[in-house]
């Protein structure tokens, strides 16, 4: 048997079900590795003591019908966890301990999983490098001083570094898929309405979705099966029959029509990304898929549209962090001064930047020119996909325009940082499911990802395509454990 922490979710659950491993052994193995991996800075808050207690409790009376029997899982610190501090990577929630559980994490615990701890992320999920976190940046296990992507950077790093078997992140404009791509892991953003947003600290409500981040496609299907559910507590949750994604997982994609959108061939795209895409296309062909050139004409407008819609919603969603009810408060002589000091000191620069952009685009006199226009363009982008999906079953693109960059490389250039999301944001705007799978490496040996985009609620299809491609690509992450301390 290979080292516990390097096992996939599938292997760990099999070993638990076959009683080859106990929950306690597994939990302790991940905790031991975490103790030696502080340099990566993936944890904001650990739940190690309670996790060991819970694993013992599981072992004393194991329920092997669970889909995640006694499996320890760390989650992004954007999910509210009952009794465990939840910060959203922000100083303003530095001391916030929820008395309630998000639906998505509750779904994990209801299937036997155990909370290992809360993973670092960009502040309020605003960032593409995990550098906006109040709790410091996260190291990408792929290479020293490399960003792990963002905003689910702690999550991607934790999966890649074998600090959690799987994890869940959230994706508003690419926050699952881009970090997955940067760390050589798998990340799926489900259809909007698939996973409940109840109990997830909101960034941009019309775009936010939780999703699985895993080592491989099969684990991804297993985890999606657990977290996706209809929830009456979220009015945007959709009541539809969800697949048994792991059971129905299949490499048979013969005859599937896969679209290649010409607009994703952006200026200055590195040759290696172009090559990666070509390889993906030929693998798909090898699997018997039919490749069809398609057009998504409004792709160019997706990024500016996203950077109007998301900050607009965020500016309103973050108004509740005012020092009155919970979280950080900086006292003032009067209410206005208290607000100003609390929010000036409590929020970081990127969050403030987006609150200002959002406030601006919603202001009277600017609303029509920005927010309303962006909503119209959003409909056009959606329609592009609708049209494309009348011809194809799925769409294949690169996940990101580059591999992981150095910590600090883009912190002073927000626009170049935002450009990282160029291939991922259109999918959020259209509410579609998208998955990033590791598909190759660049000249520095850093991982690169391919993205498969599906029709609404067609997660099974993109999982199957990814499963088939994964087999052909046979990606191996080259991680040297350079950060481990004794």
């Amino acid at each position: 048997m290979s080292d516990i922490t390097s096992q996939s979710l599938f292997e760990l659950t099999s070993n638990i079900k076959e009683k080859k491993l106990s929950s306690e052994e597994i939990t302790k193995a991940f905790i031991n590795r975490a103790e030696k991996s502080k340099k990566l800075n993936v944890y904001v808050t650990n739940n190690f003591e309670k996790a060991i207690d819970q694993s013992k409790k599981f072992d004393s009376n194991p329920n092997l019908d669970f889909k995640l029997p006694g499996i320890p899982i760390a989650v992004k610190d954007l999910f509210c966890t009952n009794g465990v501090r939840t910060t959203a990577g922000s100083k303003i929630l530095n001391n916030f301990v929820p008395t309630y559980e998000s639906t998505v994490t509750q779904n994990l615990w209801s299937q036997g999983a155990i909370l290992l701890g809360k993973l670092n992320c960009d502040e309020f999920a605003m960032g593409s490098s995990n550098e906006t976190s109040f709790f410091g940046n996260v190291q990408n296990p792929v290479g020293e001083n490399l960003v792990p992507g963002g905003s689910s950077g702690g999550s991607s790093a934790a999966v890649a570094a074998n600090l959690t078997p799987v994890t869940i992140g959230t994706d508003t404009g690419g926050s699952i898929r881009q970090p997955a791509s940067f760390t050589g892991t798998v990340g799926l953003k489900p259809t909007y309405g698939s996973c409940s947003r109840y109990g997830i600290v909101a960034f941009a409500s019309s775009l936010d979705q939780a999703g699985p981040m895993t080592k491989n496609v099969r684990d991804c299907s297993m985890l999606l099966e657990v977290i996706s559910s209809f929830d009456q507590k979220d009015s945007t949750s959709i009541d539809y029959k969800r697949n048994y994604y792991s059971k129905e997982l299949s490499k048979d994609i013969k005859g599937k029509k896969i679209g290649i959108p010409k607009e994703y061939r952006v200026d200055n795209m590195p040759d290696e990304i172009e090559q990666l895409w070509k390889n993906g296309i030929s693998y798909a062909k090898d699997c018997g898929a039919e490749i069809i050139d398609i057009s998504l004409p409004h792709t160019n407008y997706a990024l500016p549209t996203y950077y109007i819609v998301a900050p607009a919603e965020a500016s309103s969603n973050l108004a509740r962090y005012d020092g009155v009810k919970y979280g950080f408060r900086s006292p003032g002589q009067n209410l206005i001064e208290m607000y100003e000091k609390t929010r000036s000191e409590g929020f970081g620069d990127e969050v403030k930047r987006r609150i200002m952009i959002g406030t601006y685009v919603l202001s009277s006199g600017y609303y029509d020119a920005y927010y309303l226009k962006a909503q119209k363009v959003r409909q056009l982008i959606k329609k592009d996909f609708d049209d494309a999906f009348s011809k194809v079953d799925a769409i294949l693109t690169p996940s990101t325009p580059s591999s992981a960059f150095k910590i600090g490389e883009k912190t002073n250039d927000p626009v170049s940082m935002y450009l990282n999301d160029i291939f991922t944001v259109p999918i959020n705007l259209a509410g579609l499911p998208g998955i990033s799978i590791p598909a190759g490496k660049d000249k520095n040996n850093y991982p690169l990802g391919l993205q498969v985009i599906g029709k609404p609620f067609d997660e099974q299809n993109i999982l199957n395509i990814s499963y088939a491609l994964e087999d052909k690509i046979n990606f191996k992450n080259d991680i040297s454990d350079w950060w481990l301390s004794e």
Binding site: T99, Y100, S235, A319, R320, V324, Y367
Partner: protein, 488 residues
């Protein structure tokens, strides 16, 4: 409407007309809040009716309370208004300590109810007031500034309670019309059970828009909005004071600033709260946590079929069926409890007498004791018994008043009072004739005067005869026999 009933404010041979529009905030009658399951009960300990949603905890999401939607539709139907099959909840963004989300969920561009109307019964006829729209929104919490010397305390019990904002067109022209409008609106909502209309508990409040113009002018003047006035009396005072303030400015050839003002009830004047320049930019946008609200025709039809008879229809029926005057009918339908009481009384008794007794004696007692009709000291059952005693001649109207006074004390049965006190009317013609003979004998001088042409003395003889009967003589019989004796 006749000219002389117009409400005009005079200045040096000039007459100013006052233009008023109201934004009424009516609390929806509902067990739970608009987007959460917390109770809406009034008067609970502070912050005991607050859910995580109401307090805007991270990750909490609003879920629409369908009952509140139905209540709004019901009210819309009561206002003869268009129900919009698609409406949208928007966020109205502003910071305040008692607004936990940092925004109020309201409806901005697409309200649930569109244009409707309310008919006012004014002394000189009916007047129609247009309704611009009705939309649903959340109430805020309450900031309390006078408990702690250094801090403001916040009570979130009210936070998230459903309100209907009912916006009138600028069709109101006087404080009297405002009085009648608010009462009518309240009456309709109480008939429907959609708002209890309790102004003391804040279930009904209004923002009052006032502008003035010279009589005959067709353009509207610059308006000011007086925020959050919570009684009809204060609304009327505020309108008069604000209209005069604006007229003073015009007379001095000064500009009226469009602004939001507050009414100071102690000083009876409005003062500026914020000018147009300082007006909040609420940055309304559709709430992404809520899908657009879609209402099916089936639901509208179902609610329509549950709508009770409303004041206007009831009034028409009372006039047509019971032959009441419009004035009487208006009074009796003004609130549902009164009309129910009336209908209960007339089940077993005369309509005309019932009308007079309810609008006369009973209302006088209620007024004097400051009671609602639901707290009436005399039940409908006993009042109808009393009316029957009058109708069948057992007691006279005058005796009935004595009986009624006693009935008030613990809702006593008039039959028992009449029996115990021996108040039954004397209707035996022989007995009446006897006592009239006595009166004629004792007043021979007056009889002579009467016969010589002093007709007015007839009343004197009636009085004497009544006195002789200790008030129990049947007045019709006394009249009849007296006439025979004196004129015969």
């Amino acid at each position: 409407m006749s000219k002389n009933s117009e409400y005009l404010i005079e200045r040096e041979n000039k007459q100013y007309e006052v233009i008023i529009g109201l934004e009424v905030h009516a609390q929806v009658t509902s067990e739970s809040k608009l987007f959460s399951q917390s109770s809406t009960k009034f008067g609970a300990e502070p912050n005991t009716q607050v859910s995580l949603v109401d307090a805007a905890f991270p990750g909490m999401l609003p879920v629409i309370n369908e009952f509140c939607i139905e209540q709004a539709i019901k009210t819309g139907i009561g206002l003869k208004a268009k129900i919009n099959k698609k409406s949208v909840f928007d966020r109205k963004n502003y910071f305040y300590a008692d607004l936990p989300q940092g925004y109020q969920i309201s409806q901005y561009k697409y309200p649930i109810v569109g244009e409707g109307k309310v008919i006012l019964d004014m002394p000189n006829g009916q007047k129609e007031i247009g309704i611009e729209r009705l939309h649903l929104e959340q109430d805020a919490g309450k900031s309390i500034h006078d408990i702690d010397p250094n801090n403001t305390l916040v009570d979130l019990n009210r936070s998230g309670v459903a309100l209907m904002e009912i916006v009138s067109k600028p069709d109101l022209r006087s404080p009297d019309e405002v009085n009648v409008y608010i009462k009518k609106l309240r009456s309709i909502m109480r008939y429907l059970g959609t708002c209890d209309g309790n102004m003391q508990e804040g279930s009904l409040r209004a923002d009052v828009n006032v502008s003035v113009r010279l009589k005959g002018e067709t353009e509207f003047g610059t308006r000011c909005e007086i925020k959050n006035v919570n009684s009809i009396k204060f609304m009327q005072m505020a309108i008069i004071s604000e209209a005069n303030r604006q007229i003073d400015l015009l007379e001095e050839r000064k500009e009226i600033d469009q602004e939001t003002r507050l009414f100071d009830t102690k000083r009876n004047e409005t003062r500026s709260m914020r000018s147009k320049e300082d007006a909040h930019d609420y940055r309304y946008f559709p709430d992404p946590d809520l899908l657009p609200l879609e209402i099916s025709q089936e639901l509208i039809e179902k609610i329509k079929s549950d709508i009770p008879e409303l004041p206007d229809e009831k009034k028409k029926r009372f006039i047509d069926k019971f032959n009441l005057s419009p004035y009487e009918a208006t009074i009796l339908v003004s609130d549902i409890e009164t009309s129910n009481f009336f209908e209960e009384v007339i089940k077993n008794s005369d309509v005309k007498l019932a009308t007079n007794w309810i609008t006369g004696e009973l209302f006088a007692v209620l007024n004097e004791k400051n009671l609602e009709i639901s707290q009436s000291p005399v039940s409908a059952k006993n009042l109808s018994k009393l009316i029957n005693l009058i109708k069948d001649g057992t007691i006279s109207g005058k005796i009935a008043k004595t009986v009624f006074e006693q009935m008030i004390d613990g809702d006593q049965d008039p039959l028992i009072i009449v029996k115990e006190k021996g108040l039954k009317q004397e209707s035996d013609p022989k007995a009446i004739e006897e006592l009239i003979n006595k009166v004629i004998e004792n007043n021979s001088d007056k009889v002579a005067e009467y016969k010589s042409g002093k007709d007015k003395l007839f009343g004197f003889f009636v009085g004497q005869a009544m006195k002789e009967s200790k008030g129990k003589g049947n007045p019709q019989l006394i009249n009849k026999i007296l006439k025979e004796k004196l004129n015969g």
